[in-house]
């Protein structure tokens, strides 16, 4: 153009201008001060479809009237005042409306970065120069990246949200709004299979009328849509539904869908249901849309599967806890009833024993009167009967006294305190019938925590038994001593210990935890007749006597009293014995 042939330019400069005119990959336009086009390079000819001769001298704003509407005139005016303007694509899109070279870019105009600058010649502004750069490709790439980024965001949001959700049916609603915004989807239907496996039920929906939801609330294979959803095993796009004559065209005729994605919800091999996402505007789904939706469907399926498992687990837990509560209630009821029965029995036995003693004493008294006052006048046979009667009465008295004692031990309140075993044993020995020479006490005797009177009674009973149950003619030999034992059990739990348990093999252990508690075992050992093993568990019961003890006098209550007394004191007792060798009874109490 004019500049190209300016005689004041050197050959290099003229060549450069020529190159810009013919080959530059930019649009270059110059105008005069009235914005009439003065030059229009080859790039402009190609991209506008107009030759430079066609536009030369034409007014820029007439050729591109949009410049006025879009408020660009001020920039051109300021260029005449010396200012340079940069026009970014992100804020303007383009300066001059030209068709895009790139097809399928999604842009209606070529995206441009533009510069408008004053054109100066010899110190004077002679017009403006416009430079255009085509950035459509760049903008397209960045829009693809942006879309990918948005999809990634949706996916990671969906993953985090659905997998954490306690209620995935509700979460799908929130998720739908995000997905809908991204893809222009207008509706969704979430169907889940019923336990029968042949019916699917609508669990959540959006963008679908209530009437349609009611009508499509429950589907079976007898309907085309039901068959399609029940049989769905891989994500599928149904497109151009408005032209479809297929049986599922109900999607268009009834719901107005033009295209939809049907995503089966499968966890492992289990088909949980299907998700249908649809558009009423677009005839087809976008590229990559089905992939993204099916990924979301997979997340949803996992979340729904997890929900179902949690539901089962909670129901099982609730059943179990219900059952346990029932059991506890039954145990409580039975315990209360048992306590009542025991209490009634104890009251009964106390009353019986107490009331029995009066007639027994009368019987004994009358027997004595008969013996003392009338024995001379009675035949020998009658005297013998009276003696036997008297003996029987005395035995009955002892029996009732012991019963009374047993029931008293069971009922009375007791206080535990440290007890000096030496003094208690001395008292017990003093009261017992045993010859002192038959008893060996191995000192020292350790102190225990016990109820003094009950402990004395237990020791008396054991010593009496030890000297009583010896072979005829043999001299009793009794040894008494104490030992420490360590138990790992919590001392508080000790009263629950079965009081009649056979001797436990408790050994001292230092590395067991919790810290073992120290107990004292009081041993009473005899060289008597011994007790057969089968009787070991029984002899502590009331009225139980060893078979071999038939020849010995006694009520059969003595060891029952010992056992009950030890139980009341939170201790334990037991026996080790061998027939013909002897017995070793032990009492175990907390160390003082």
């Amino acid at each position: 153009m004019e500049q190209k042939h300016d005689s004041s330019l050197g050959p290099q400069e003229a060549a450069m201008i020529g190159w810009i005119h013919d080959f530059a990959p930019y649009g270059v336009i110059t105008t005069d001060c009235a914005f009439r086009i003065q030059s229009w390079n080859h790039w402009m000819e190609i991209h506008s479809g107009r030759g430079s001769g066609e536009v030369a001298g034409g007014e820029l704003f007439k050729l591109f009237p949009e410049l006025i509407e879009r408020g660009f005139v001020a920039r051109f005016n300021r260029a005449l005042e010396g200012e340079v303007s940069v026009l970014s694509t992100a804020l303007h899109g383009y300066l001059l409306a030209l068709p895009p070279v790139m097809r399928d870019s999604g842009f209606h105009e070529m995206q441009q970065t533009a510069r408008v600058a004053p054109l100066r010649y010899q110190g004077q502004t002679v017009g403006t120069i416009i430079i255009l750069e085509d950035v459509t490709q760049r903008e397209y790439q960045s829009s693809v990246l942006r879309r990918q980024h948005e999809r990634d965001n949706i996916l990671s949001w969906a993953l985090a949200h659905l997998l954490e959700s306690q209620d995935p049916r509700r979460s799908i609603r929130e998720l739908f709004f995000k997905v809908a915004e991204q893809f222009d989807l207008e509706a969704y239907l979430l169907y889940m299979t019923e336990p029968d496996g042949a019916t699917i039920k609508l669990q959540a929906a959006g963008g679908v009328s209530q009437e349609a939801q009611d009508q499509l609330g429950r589907l079976t294979a007898s309907s085309a849509l039901g068959r399609r959803l029940l049989g769905s095993r891989r994500p599928e796009a149904l497109e151009d539904l408005q032209q479809s004559t297929a049986e599922e065209s109900i999607l268009h005729s009834f719901l107005g869908f033009h295209a939809c994605a049907i995503i089966p919800l499968i966890v492992g091999d289990e088909f949980l249901g299907a998700l249908c996402l649809a558009t009423r505007i677009r005839a087809r789904l976008q590229e990559g849309e089905l992939d993204l939706l099916s990924t979301i469907g997979q997340y949803l399926a996992v979340a729904l599967g997890k929900e179902a498992t949690n539901l089962k687990l909670r129901s099982a837990q609730s059943k179990l806890s219900h059952h346990a509560q029932g059991l506890e209630r039954i145990v409580d009821e039975r315990t209360v009833r048992l306590r009542e029965i025991i209490s009634e029995l104890e009251t009964f036995s106390h009353t019986v024993a107490h009331d029995l003693r009066a007639p027994i004493r009368a019987l004994t008294g009358y027997c004595q009167v008969l013996i003392e006052d009338f024995s001379a006048s009675l035949p020998a046979e009658a005297r013998d009967i009276i003696d036997r009667l008297h003996g029987a009465c005395q035995r009955l008295d002892v029996l009732t006294q012991d019963l009374l004692e047993f029931s008293k031990i069971s009922r009375q309140e007791i206080q535990l305190a440290p007890v000096d075993l030496d003094s208690v044993l001395s008292e017990a020995l003093f009261l017992s019938l045993a010859e002192p020479s038959s008893i060996t006490v191995r000192r020292p005797l350790f102190s225990v925590v016990a109820h003094r009177t009950l402990l004395q009674q237990c020791l008396s009973n054991l010593i009496d038994n030890a000297v009583k149950f010896v072979a005829k003619g043999a001299r009793p030999q009794v040894a008494i001593w104490t030992e420490y034992v360590w138990t790992e059990t919590d001392p508080a739990a000790a009263p629950r210990q079965p009081p009649f348990s056979p001797a436990r093999q408790t050994s001292r252990s230092v590395d067991d935890s919790p810290a073992p508690s120290r107990k004292v075992r009081i041993m009473v050992e005899d060289k008597g007749i011994g007790i057969p093993p089968e009787a070991h568990g029984k002899i502590f019961g009331i009225f139980e006597r060893g078979a071999s003890s038939a020849a010995f006098p006694g009520s059969g209550i003595g060891l029952a009293i010992v056992a009950r007394a030890m139980q009341r004191m939170g201790g334990a007792c037991g026996v080790e014995s061998e027939v013909g060798v002897g017995s070793r009874f032990w009492l175990e109490l907390p160390s003082a």
């Binding site: 408020g71 303007s85 940069v86 970014s88 992100a90 970065t113 948005e150």
Partner: protein, 204 residues
Amino acid sequence: MDLNPTQKDALTELINIGYARAAGALSDLTGHRITLEVPHVAIHKVSEITPMLQKVIEGEVASVHQVFGGPISGDAILLLDKAAAVLLNRLLTDRPEAKELDGAACEVITEVGNIVLNACLGVFGNLLQVQVAFTVPDLRIESVQQVLSSITVEDQELQFALMIHTRFYLRTSNVSGYLVMILGVTSLERLILELKKWEDRQAG
């Protein structure tokens, strides 16, 4: 060389007039209300500028640079720290996901810098009632030191800098930036002289 309080006030007022134009242009462009705060103006030696700016801007900065010529000549630079540039681009373009300065974002920053620089340089033109010629703005992302050293080494005459601290408010955010104009001794003397004349005209 320094400005007395009256000269400083006069310069602040003049730049503020330019800023009103820039804010209007940016608001029209984005559809959001944009306010440019009353700038702080000071004259410093060029050698003091780098350490001073390094204290307030760390790491890389986005700089928009335009050279201007005529009776007053020098370099005009808008400096934004990178985070501020990213934020500004996000606020102007409604692209909430933009975390880096890509090609499109650099253009947006260049355009904003261009508008702000033009507004300030236009003030000189009006003041001197002569045309000021500008080069096309140039965006760089580098350290403060690199930005300033690439300018000052070229001309020993460029000794003084007019520093304008500026702040944009848009929506609920604010973006802070610095405008530095490096002038030669002659240009600065001329500027101060013209300022005085302008004051006299205002008073008269």
